[in-house]
Point group: C2
């Protein structure tokens, strides 16, 4: 069995590239040092290897099922989550006084990535729980914080995000679940939700649902939405659990992959007795929920990246040990077969996986570092700058890994040949699991509209300008390195092109042709994503140049070069489509399909 | 439930584009007419709808299993194959005197495609049986033909191709299964095979394995291979079945998709009593087997195309009936939601699926027509010409649909959003089933080497010259149509570029740089594939121009235009990589990965 994570890659990204150690100069992280960061990663790796990875396949085969009205999950998942809880990972980023480790988001995300790579389905329970707790911390009342947060940070209560309804997925403004005041400060809600991950199970003492709904009489559309907290069991002032709330499991959803996470249909208020608490302000539900969604979007990107990484490592291990065939230009049949890694096309598929997965990991960890910067940089302007950059990058962080690490997993299967298609090897499961990532937390099509229709135009394009300035800085540094000069030039050209294309699209949108411009939003997302990842590859490679010579820096340079030769040139075509307001989609009548 | 096949598309390709009716002018098909062709398609559609499609999901869930040493397959598969048999489809192309329908290959493939779309796993049994029968017809002795062919053409005996061994998949020259003479004209073989589709089951009275093996003492490598026939049960002179042969099921293989087809490990000669008959000449095994493999490769391409088609139809049906959201530039939340087909990005994904799947269907049926031409054109030179063109197209026919219709199935899931990831909708199964196609019958990497390393250089490039001449002819006809002029120019430019790139690669290979040229063979395959499919799209669209105006010809033109705008431009990048002998793969040391 190949390792599911290569620690040297994570260490390089954290310590040699993103200067995790430098964060310890900030007050919030002052008690930390490289040793404590490394210790957290060591613990994550040990728990993931011992408790998460071993049941990854089993939880896929024995997916959650209903038995006498109860949801049964493989027992190994509970044992894994207990170990995760006992090690304090539910409170990785919480303050020490709240029982937390006070890790920077950067390091916490790296730790989380280790669990993703080992078993993304079981890791999803804490992902949602931590995001839900963060939301309560941001918008909940003091009373809510007191009653729910300690238990969630301790991993005794799990959380969900209950948004989607059968008629309202991408279009959340059409949510119909309704809340009415009960007269005692609580609310009663009624409605059905679907695709709620972790919506029912017995892995935790309680489940805290954060439910998007509409207060009776509120206006239609997104502005009428509020956020309600629905606890599976009533929680008393002393934190004790009371009676079961009126939220019922409507059914389990059976998926292609990611099977270990229960996916549920939930019915709220079937008996008109679903007690709910308002979180934050009425009518601000969607805006508040966006905090959780943005966090979840970065989590989706990281999960996709780590599945790509795990698949890459499996394929690399297979390619190095599997003998088959002889070099294309030396076919002496009396000689022994060579390991398939010697075949150019296999090496191409490995390089592609490396470039996609390590590019995606770099992207997600870069975003995590921006989260830290937006929270802890001493200067307010600098914090705002980091926040704005994070904002414009978020759709890319969500969509790019989902798209290209799915492609990486496809190639991991291909490297394995017929064996890759069997359930004896792990790669087919990674591929099935990863197929969800372009869909959930806002489809990649939604991300494309968010990027082109909002993020690159907001504040008169300030976020894009920030991004381009960072790209330019990297290109300038690379231009001073003889080995990287050609790539510095290519990156600079790509950035200029992205800028021009964006201006053209903005002009079209401002000139009443928003429909025509947004019709090619997915090409714009591809263009921006590839440009950003090329930038981060070159930036990583600059960091690698400072290391002593060896396989890691050489591998970084080779994958960077591959990306610049095989991937970055694709941008020209995407740029053309957007710039020309290509109408081949928009002008096609649905009846002709 | 959406239809799994759209008959109008098949009819257009057969009758409006490929002139199936014109084939009735040849002696072999003189008894046919459009009505008999249509009747065959009607029957295929009726049987597929009644017997194949309904158990497609069930056979996926209840995959073949071992019970008391017997392989149990869902009973619906047997019923479906009985219906297929009774309708005479095992002998679609056989002469009437052999109980056949004497259909042209073109029409037979279209019929077969209907079954592929309905249930590719169950359709695989006849696919392999027909190919095995054709091999025996070509190379078997009169005695073998007499004893096996009628039963195979009647569907009472099924066939397999038993090539792969654990240490010899892509590298068939390393096959170790050994045959020794028994002294009575028969042979005894010993060895293990893996991934043998249909290797064991009780769907037919007998199974005829065509086994690639090495006669004891034969030279190593491909030239030492011979082809042996191993019948599960001895077949007497009168066709009666005798005792069980010494071929044992070593195990069933559990796959990600395509689960309804048994995939087996077979052990030949565990008791040193596996009786085999030599087929054709000793040492010609691989060359002979290539007939079956080439046929299977076209079958793989067609299967991939039809899975793409079925997924497209499901996604189109969903997109037309699923309300969600409002247009990006008209978001009045008080208006009802629109069908998602109205959203540009959904329409893009549908157009892509249409372009990929109908492009792939066109490619496969064009190849089928070439099979007919190579067999039945009156002029020997013209037959040779068709054969050569088929030869050069075969790697593309296998690989292109496998790659791009898998992509189509990925998009079909995406159109369905979260529902697409559930097992309640058919598209996730199409995606899993289609994932096999880039792997089996020679991985797409092997096809790329075959195309660049052999097919386009053979006979001093004559096959490529033939291909380019046909492309030029289409471009010239399109240039005369005002609506298609721009695409005619683009196709002409693409053909010129393909020619130049090929010459550059050939020069490199001739100049001792074969390794460097072949390292980018996959980019060459992409380049050639996209150029060929663009050609066939334009050629289809020319045919569509002759039809009365309506959704079908308009849809053809829209998909053609989309392909020329969104896909054909990708060729420039692939061409650069090949032309420049890009070394980013070849120069990467495996240790750096």
């Amino acid at each position: 069995m190949a390792a599911f994570v290569r620690r040297a890659d994570l260490d390089f990204l954290l310590f040699d590239w993103l200067d995790a150690e430098g964060l310890t100069g900030r007050a919030r992280f002052a008690d930390h040092g490289r040793e404590t960061f490394a210790a957290a990663l060591d613990t994550a790796e040990a728990i993931a290897a011992r408790h998460f990875q071993p049941h990854n396949r089993k939880a896929d085969i024995e997916e959650p099922r209903l038995e006498n009205g109860r949801v049964v999950v493989v027992p190994e998942a509970k044992a894994a989550l207990d170990a995760f809880r006992e090690a304090g990972f539910f409170a990785m980023e919480a303050a020490p006084e709240a029982g937390g480790m006070a890790l920077p988001h950067l390091v916490a995300q790296a730790c989380f990535g280790v669990f993703d790579a080992a078993n993304i389905a079981t890791a999803s329970y804490p992902l949602l729980t931590i995001a839900a707790a963060n939301l309560i911390e941001s918008f909940g009342s003091d009373d809510q914080k007191r009653r729910y947060l300690p238990a969630m940070r301790a991993g005794r209560f799990f959380g969900t995000m209950a948004l989607t309804e059968p008629q309202a997925g991408s279009s959340l403004g059409d949510v119909r679940t309704t809340a009415t005041p009960a007269g005692d400060g609580t609310w009663r809600i009624k409605g059905g939700k679907i695709f709620i991950s972790g919506g029912e199970h017995e892995l935790s003492d309680n489940i805290v649902h954060l439910v998007l709904c509409r207060i009776a009489g509120a206006p239609p559309g997104p502005k009428g939405l509020s956020l309600m907290l629905v606890s599976k069991y009533a929680v008393g002032d002393d934190g004790s659990l009371g009676r079961r709330n009126d939220v019922a499991l409507g059914g389990l959803i059976h998926k292609m992959g990611w099977r270990g996470t229960t996916s549920t249909v939930l019915n709220f208020g079937e008996r008109d007795a679903c007690v709910a608490e308002l979180v934050g302000e009425p009518g601000r539900g969607l805006a508040q929920m966006f905090q959780m969604m943005n966090e979840a979007r970065i989590g989706v990107g990281l999960g996709a990246a780590m599945l790509g990484h795990a698949g890459y490592l499996a394929a690399l291990d297979y390619a190095r040990t599997r003998p088959q065939g002889r070099p294309a230009d030396a076919k002496d049949v009396t000689r022994p077969q060579v390991a398939i890694v010697e075949h150019a096309d296999v090496r191409r598929m490995l390089l592609a996986q490396k470039a996609y997965s390590e590019g995606a990991m770099a992207l997600c960890l870069y975003a995590a570092r921006l989260v830290d910067d937006s929270r802890t940089l001493p200067d307010a302007d600098a914090r705002a700058h980091a926040h704005r950059l994070l904002d414009v990058l978020t759709p890319i962080v969500k969509a790019w890994p989902a798209e290209w690490c799915l492609e990486a997993n496809k190639l991991a299967i291909q490297v394995h040949g017929g064996y890759g298609f069997t359930r004896e090897y792990p790669v087919e499961q990674f591929y099935r699991d990863n197929r969800l990532n372009p869909i959930h937390e806002g489809t990649n099509g939604i991300q494309a509209l968010d990027l082109l229709g909002r993020k690159v135009t907001m504040q008169d394009g300030a976020a894009l300008a920030d991004l381009l300035a960072r790209i330019d800085a990297t290109a300038a540094r690379a231009a001073a390195e003889p080995a990287l000069q050609d790539m510095a030039g290519a990156l600079d050209a790509a950035a200029r092109r992205l800028d021009r294309v964006t201006q053209a699209a903005r002009a079209a949108m401002a000139g009443g042709r928003a429909g025509a411009a947004l019709a090619n939003a997915s090409a714009y997302l591809d263009l921006a994503g590839h440009t950003v990842v090329a930038w981060l590859w070159l930036d990583q490679t600059l960091a690698a140049l400072r290391l002593p010579d060896g396989p890691l820096p050489r591998g970084k340079r080779a994958a960077c070069r591959w990306f610049f030769r095989w991937e970055l040139p694709k941008c020209a075509h995407w740029a053309d489509l957007v710039e020309q307001l290509d109408g081949s989609v928009g002008e096609t009548d649905p009846d002709w399909l």
